[in-house]
């Protein structure tokens, strides 16, 4: 429901306030939006009491804990919220505005990195921006809902103070809670572990026929740094190589590589 509260200062309905961020950028914000940041509201009201506004100059409110990029996002979110001094909308207008906001919120979340959520929450908390905090807290909860314990620890920077056997016992007892979650680190780790093999030194074998042939593109000869080492240092059967290479030049010096 939108309020039709009487605006005590009709002239300030389009008044702007200036906010200064931690990186010294100045933002001119409509008062209606800025008042949603309760810290700013409190500051403004304190200043009003001390009669600064009466001097006619616009006060610059410092926000030393908020970076400009974060403030930009918070302001644009604040603008989409129903304004407390707006004229009462009829039901239809309210519904369209609600849909617009939902669409905006979805778009915002799609492009947001999880780490940025933490910054937004930190700033919204500092500014005491209740609606913003509500929205971003929910977004963060939705994000971590299906994540693994390891992910959550890393994300929040929490140290695991459980003994391995304690943790193991808990995981066994509540195995149902660990089913069907997004295995981030564990999945990748398992994949890596499966492809690891150990090598044993077999020694030098003589008299094997036919002798192994080294591919033409393999390097031979002395190692350029240490002449005691002969190349190739290690070989394995096969010619298909999967390796990383920089884009600038190909591995074989040919125009095309397969």
């Amino acid at each position: 429901m939108s309020n039709t509260s009487e605006n005590p200062n009709p002239s300030s309905s389009s008044a702007k306030m200036t906010l200064k961020t931690s990186d010294n950028e100045l933002f001119e914000v409509e008062e209606a939006v800025a008042m949603k940041f309760c810290t700013v509201k409190q500051y403004f009201e304190d200043e009003k009491d001390s009669d600064v506004a009466a001097r006619g100059s616009t006060t610059v409110i410092p926000l030393p804990n908020v970076h400009s990029a974060v403030l930009t996002m918070l302001i644009s979110y604040g603008k989409k919220l129903p304004q407390s001094n707006a004229v009462a909308d009829n039901h239809e207008e309210e519904e369209t505005k609600k849909k617009e906001r939902k669409k905006y919120e979805q778009g915002l979340l799609k492009n947001l990195m999880p780490g940025e959520l933490l910054d937004l929450i930190s700033a919204a908390n500092y500014l005491d921006f209740k609606e913003g905090l509500e929205f971003f807290n929910q977004a963060l909860a939705d994000h971590i809902q299906n994540k693994s314990v390891e992910y959550v620890r890393k994300f929040f920077g929490i140290k695991n103070d459980y003994e391995p056997h304690e943790e193991e016992k808990y995981r066994e007892e509540y195995a149902w809670a660990f089913e069907g979650i997004e295995c981030w680190l564990i999945g990748e780790l398992k994949q890596f572990m499966a492809k690891t093999k150990t090598l044993d030194i077999a020694g030098t074998l003589l008299g094997i026929k036919p002798a192994l042939i080294v591919a033409s593109f393999s390097v031979r000869g002395l190692n350029s740094l240490d002449s005691n080492i002969l190349k190739p240092e290690m070989i394995a059967p096969g010619e298909n190589i999967l390796a990383a290479w920089i884009n600038a030049i190909g591995p074989t010096g040919l125009d095309s590589n397969t």
């Binding site: 931690s22 990186d23 970076h67 400009s68 990029a69 974060v70 930009t72 996002m73 990195m113 780490g115 940025e116 933490l118 910054d119 937004l120 929450i121 930190s122 908390n125 905090l133 807290n137 929910q138 963060l140 909860a141 939705d142 971590i144 809902q145 299906n146 314990v149 959550v152 620890r153 929040f156 920077g157 929490i158 140290k159 695991n160 103070d161 459980y162 943790e167 808990y170 995981r171 509540y174 149902w176 809670a177 660990f178 979650i181």
Partner: protein
């Protein structure tokens, strides 16, 4: 504008924000995250957090679930299964130690639920004894309830239907069972507190409370800190409720305009619908579902909700069955009800229960869990962390 470059120092979320974020998560995630660190384990296991998590979940209609006990298995239905898509219950593995659900023939299973907990009663019809167990289907933990220490001999007294509810004043869940010792003079009530884990018996001062003696024995309903029984007073239907905080019985009269005695115009005889009503819940309000009408041929089911006073909510066609409202969808259009139908074979009647969903706007009825089951019990519960 990307913020990544702007991060100058790592931000550790203060504890009150962590609590706020965690209170929005489902129980499965929270039980997993107890493993994150000892601090999180303590937080998630705390009573205070369980309470705030429950308060948030109870405002969210999607957190409503229904648990169904058929005669051989337990099924769980979530919000989507109930009100959105169809309709298959997820089987739930239950293994209660010392509490055999489908053990003996003369034992019936009764349910009562409140907040996130379900109280199961195994009632032995022959011996007239009851055993109780309290279960949280979300956390899968349960507690066997000890037998009352000072129960009078079950053969010399009459027990009324048990109730299970939440006492706001002490943040405690309670099981209550009123009873009367022969020759039916003083009425007492046994109360079990989950917090103290003990029973106590007190005398009650209530006039004429007893269940409808008709076959459709209604169950108790919990709503807003009180437990409601359907009763009869001097032939008229009435509602009696026990306030768990004050531990006092009160009476709640029926809505005045509802007729329970319908005079048949042609024969002049009275047709009483006093057996055809049930109490349930609609959202957080008490809901009365009563079969009434102008004449016997013109019956309908009226749903009344108790807000400040009785308000008529809807009227739906009467199809020969009794309906007990259980829960309602987000937009208030669809109501899940337990339908009771009596099938007579000769003179013996068998009661069959079904879960149905009524759409209040277009008066259509959909069956949930199709087979009418002679021994189906259902209860609603909200995801919660109580009783971990």
């Amino acid at each position: 504008m990307r913020i990544c470059k702007a991060r100058r120092q790592s931000f550790t979320i203060p504890n009150d924000l962590v609590e706020d974020i965690l209170s929005r998560l489902p129980v499965k995630s929270l039980m997993r995250f107890k493993c994150v660190s000892k601090a999180w384990h303590t937080l998630i296991s705390s009573c205070r957090f369980a309470k705030s998590h429950f308060q948030r979940a109870s405002q969210n209609p999607s957190c409503m679930n229904v648990i169904v006990f058929t005669d051989n298995c337990v099924l769980s239905l979530g919000y989507e299964a109930l009100f959105q898509t169809c309709v298959h219950g997820q089987p739930v593995d239950v293994d209660f130690q010392g509490f055999p659900l489908w053990g003996e023939e003369y034992v019936e299973t009764n349910l009562a639920s409140c907040n996130g907990l379900v109280c199961i009663e195994l009632y032995n019809r022959r011996k007239r004894t009851s055993e109780y167990l309290v279960w949280n289907p979300s956390t899968k933990s349960y507690k066997n309830i000890p037998r009352p220490t000072s129960t009078p001999d079950s053969m010399s007294c009459w027990f009324y239907r048990f109730g299970f509810g939440y006492d706001y004043s002490t943040d405690d869940h309670k099981i209550v069972r009123p009873f009367q010792i022969f020759p039916f003079d003083m009425k007492r009530i046994e109360i079990f507190s989950l917090k103290t884990f003990t029973w106590k018996t007190i005398l009650v001062d209530v006039d004429n409370i007893y269940n409808c003696s008709l076959p459709l024995i209604p169950k108790t309903t919990y709503c807003n800190g009180a437990i409601y029984w359907s009763a009869r007073k001097y032939g008229k239907p009435s509602i009696v409720y026990f306030d768990l905080a004050e531990e006092i019985f009160h009476e709640l009269p029926w809505p005045e305009s509802v007729l329970y005695c319908i005079r048949d115009r042609s024969s002049g005889k009275c047709f009483y619908t006093t057996g055809l009503w049930e109490l349930g819940t609609f959202g957080e309000h008490l809901c009365l579902s009563v079969c009434t009408g102008e004449s016997r041929k013109n019956l309908c089911i009226q749903l009344w909700v108790m807000k400040e006073s009785w308000t008529r909510l809807a009227t739906i066609p009467y199809l020969g069955t009794c309906l007990r409202p259980m829960c309602v969808s987000k937009n208030g259009e669809k109501v899940l009800m337990r339908e009771t139908q009596v099938k007579y074979v000769g003179i013996t009647g068998e009661w069959y229960y079904k879960l149905v969903e009524w759409n209040l706007t277009d008066h259509t009825c959909t069956s949930i869990l199709c087979d009418p089951n002679p021994r189906m019990e259902a209860a609603t519960y909200v995801e919660s962390l109580y009783l971990q």
